[in-house]
């Protein structure tokens, strides 16, 4: 049977975080959505705007994450913010004890957006909040330079995201934390009543419960799902191009305390050095080669550091062993399939040496050499990576990532199914045609190799060899 080649883009938007593995999502599917109203700053107070609205997060065709607010009555999307990973945090404003107020706060700028929950029940609030952070900071694709699994990572901002949507953000942008807290902490009795009255007009009782059959507020959260947010008229759509980001942005994750932090790690530091961003300009192409896709991811290169993030964001199934009966395909230990006696002969071949050399660490403490190739594959660190890779493969979440390595459709399919055996066997399948194979092969090598190379200088060197 023929495998329909899915558009690359939808493979890329295959979500990596828990709960969404396995299905191929259309680009316009909202990752999170909930009813919420906007708020405004007036006379030093943050006040709710009396409009029924919806907050949703979605990923556009060009893989950028959008945080949007839509007026549920008019259908107008009044705010469409493009969010770069780690640039913002969505959190509850604890100073406001009476309402369920949340703040979208930016690290790279002082812009702030306040929202008040209009969901009937409060019990999902924390969950929704987490989902917002997760999806914004771990966009459903590899290669976009994020840190730390979910939530408030402390990386320095990538910069430049979320322009203003008029007066609201600019008015709030000058506020520091203490000013904010005084705005909420000092909330007066009249303000309190006003908030509650807002809520009551919406059909919410003081306790936040939705009254049945109220003014259309009984509609479900999915009512907006069928609308395609992209392409609709969005008066205040904001977009900052990756090029605007400060040159040192790739190094942000080096400076912070986030999980993947490595001050001197070449891969991270080079994330910004390449600065390839937006090479192909056109953001709407669905069919893209790995090279183009790679070039258009934030930062321009495959973020190898993201592998760690990906691995941590993958939720291990409860109590599952690496080769448990639950996973597809036969059980085996990947290290057994890569015994040293099979690897050493490969490493004796000059051509293969050249091909593999770029994948070695490039550190002054550990210069690249044929010797190091041999020592690497026998090192515990290498073997641990093998195990981790196998385990990650079996979760079925690694499809988009391995696709970037140019392993071929069948292998990607196996990865999506978490079938390690099928994945391996797919790698031995002959490529479609000789010509395509040659093209794909060289492109894959080039792409994979350039992913491994920390900087452009090396790339030139390798091209010469």
């Amino acid at each position: 049977k023929s495998l329909q080649k899915p558009p690359r883009q939808s493979t890329m938007s295959h979500a990596l975080f828990a709960g969404s593995g396995g299905s191929v999502a259309p680009a316009s599917r909202y990752l999170v959505e909930f009813k919420a109203g906007k708020m405004t700053l007036q006379d030093g107070w943050v006040r709710p705007i009396n409009k029924k609205g919806m907050v949703y997060v979605h990923q556009s065709d060009d893989n950028l994450m959008h945080f949007c607010w839509k007026d549920r009555t008019s259908g107008l999307v009044e705010d469409d913010l493009i969010i770069f990973p780690d640039d913002c945090e969505f959190k509850r404003v604890t100073q406001c004890t009476t309402g369920r107020v949340y703040l979208l706060k930016f690290k790279s700028s002082s812009k702030k957006y306040f929202f008040w929950m209009q969901e009937p029940k409060e019990d999902k609030d924390a969950d929704l909040c987490k989902k917002v952070n997760d999806s914004l900071n771990n966009p459903p694709q590899p290669g976009s330079g994020r840190a730390g699994g979910g939530g408030a990572a402390s990386a320095g901002g990538i910069g430049g995201a979320g322009g203003g949507s008029g007066s609201l953000s600019s008015a709030l942008s000058g506020l520091g934390e203490s000013e904010l807290s005084s705005m909420f902490g000092n909330i007066s009795q009249s303000e309190l009543m006003q908030l509650l009255q807002m809520g009551m007009q919406m059909g919410l009782s003081p306790s936040g419960m939705m009254r049945p059959a109220s003014t259309g507020a009984g509609s479900t959260a999915s009512d907006g799902a069928s609308e395609a947010p992209t392409g609709s008229s969005v008066p205040s759509r904001v977009q900052s191009s990756p090029g605007v980001r400060p040159a040192g942005s790739g190094a942000n994750s080096a400076a912070s305390g986030a999980r993947q932090t490595m001050p001197e790690r070449p891969a991270t530091a080079a994330a910004s050095a390449g600065g390839v961003a937006a090479g192909s300009g056109g953001g709407r192409e669905l069919q893209q080669t790995p090279l183009q896709q790679q070039q258009r991811t934030a930062g321009g290169r495959i973020q190898l550091s993201d592998l760690q993030t990906i691995l941590t964001s993958i939720q291990a199934p409860e109590g599952a062993a690496p080769a448990s009966a639950g996973s597809a395909g036969a059980q085996f230990d990947l290290n057994d399939a890569l015994p040293i006696e099979s690897l050493l002969p490969l490493l004796a071949d000059a051509q293969l040496q050249a091909r593999l050399m770029p994948f070695l660490p490039d550190s002054p403490d550990l210069p690249r050499s044929v010797d190091e190739l041999r020592r690497s594959v026998q090192s515990p660190q290498f073997r641990q990576c093998v195990s981790a890779f196998a385990a990650a493969l079996r979760t079925g979440e690694l499809g988009p990532l391995v696709a970037q390595f140019g392993v071929g459709e069948a292998a990607v399919q196996a990865a999506n199914e978490g079938n390690a055996e099928a994945f391996m066997r797919a790698l031995q399948q002959p490529k479609p045609t000789a010509a395509a194979a040659a093209a794909e092969g060289s492109e894959d090598v080039e792409m994979a190799a350039s992913a491994a190379k920390p900087d452009a200088k090396d790339e030139e060197k390798m091209d010469e060899s």
Partner: protein
């Protein structure tokens, strides 16, 4: 300051040695020892760290041990509580180092600053100060592995375990146990009169042994780490002293005595051995920081192109099946043994619990 800001790092002497250097501390290194008695020969020994894995429920709670809560905490002892699990190794090391007063050891700016800055804080706040130190956290995180240990562990279906570090250090003639999960340091008493400070560990050995037994289970995995003066520095000093002495009062003919020559040769060799060790630590750390997954995938592709992959997968599947079979067999016979022992015990009427019989593997 949250858990997610600190990575898990490996408990490896090379990692810890480089970690300490990364903090700016000079003159120490960390070495693994395999028996408590090995520590006796290591001089000067600044402290011992006992590290073990335990199930999270088993983590130590305060008992009626003599926990120090008096003025010694302000005047003599530095003790910080563990507030972030992932930082436990660094915490133990810092707790140990900040209590060392020895001419060989130079704390360095970062640690000295932490010590003075947090000197008047209570233990919990000291722990917070450490957890909030960007430099310490950064250095710590620079040793995390590309592939998360947590991820490995959770998928391997291992029990919910945590690693636990306990430091032993002599301070002002008494032996203390520094366990970040306890309310304060534990006082194990005065070191025997007349015992040179350098011999402190002999007094510590029985104490540590008792502690090891307390946390013992049939699968106790533990590591003993010794914090000692940097070997290379000591050797270099010796060599320098020797060469200087020879230069001054040496043989007029310019020759060396055989003994002197032998000694110089020994020292030089020992120094280069130490240099090789440091280089090895650095290589290992470089490998730890590196993500080999792209290389793994490339190797798999190569093997696939060469038509070797299917065979290797077949062989691996076979191996796995065999292991399962052996394991099943082992479990069956273990159960049989246990049952046999039980029967025998009750037949013999000793009243011993049959469950005490260890299964044979």
């Amino acid at each position: 300051m949250s858990e997610s800001d600190w990575c898990l790092i490996e408990s490896d002497p090379g990692v810890f040695t480089e970690l300490i250097r990364g903090f700016g501390c000079k003159g120490v290194e960390v070495e693994e020892i395999w028996s408590l008695e090995d520590s006796i020969e290591l001089k000067p020994l600044h402290g011992l760290i006992f590290l073990f894995m335990c199930e999270k429920e088993q983590q130590p709670t305060d008992t009626d041990e003599s926990i120090v809560l008096d003025s010694r905490l302000e005047e003599e002892i530095y003790f910080a509580n563990q507030v972030v699990n992932n930082a436990c190794a660094t915490l133990a090391i810092v707790n140990l180092l900040l209590n060392v007063q020895h001419q060989d050891v130079e704390l360095g700016d970062a640690l000295q600053n932490l010590k003075s800055f947090s000197a008047s804080f209570d233990s919990k706040t000291k722990g917070l100060a450490l957890a909030n130190s960007p430099l310490i956290r950064q250095v710590h995180n620079s040793f995390s592995r590309q592939t998360m240990l947590e991820f490995d562990n959770s998928l391997a279906g291992e029990r919910d375990e945590a690693s636990h570090f306990i430091a032993y250090v002599p301070i002002n003639g008494r032996l203390y146990e520094l366990d970040g999960l306890k309310r304060g340091p534990i006082d194990h008493g005065r070191l025997p009169d007349g015992l040179p400070t350098e011999e402190w560990v002999q007094h510590a050995i029985p104490v540590i042994r008792k502690r090891m037994q307390r946390y013992a289970s049939s699968e106790l995995r533990f590591t003993l780490l010794a914090v000692i003066s940097d070997r290379k520095t000591a050797l270099q000093k010796q060599l320098d002293t020797m060469t200087a002495a020879l230069d001054e009062g040496g043989d007029e003919s310019g020759g060396l005595t055989e003994a002197a020559a032998a000694e110089i040769s020994r020292l030089t060799e020992a120094i280069s051995h130490e240099e090789e060790k440091i280089a090895r630590y650095k290589r290992e750390n470089a490998r730890r920081r590196h993500n080999y997954i792209p290389m793994v995938v490339e190797l798999l592709k190569i093997l696939g192109e060469r038509g070797q992959l299917n065979g290797l997968v077949d062989a691996a599947i076979d191996k796995s099946r065999n292991r399962q079979a052996w394991k099943a067999e082992g479990d069956r016979s273990a159960t049989k043994d246990a049952q046999a022992a039980k029967t025998a015990a009750s037949a013999a009427g000793t009243g011993e619990k049959g469950a005490d019989a260890k299964p044979s593997n």
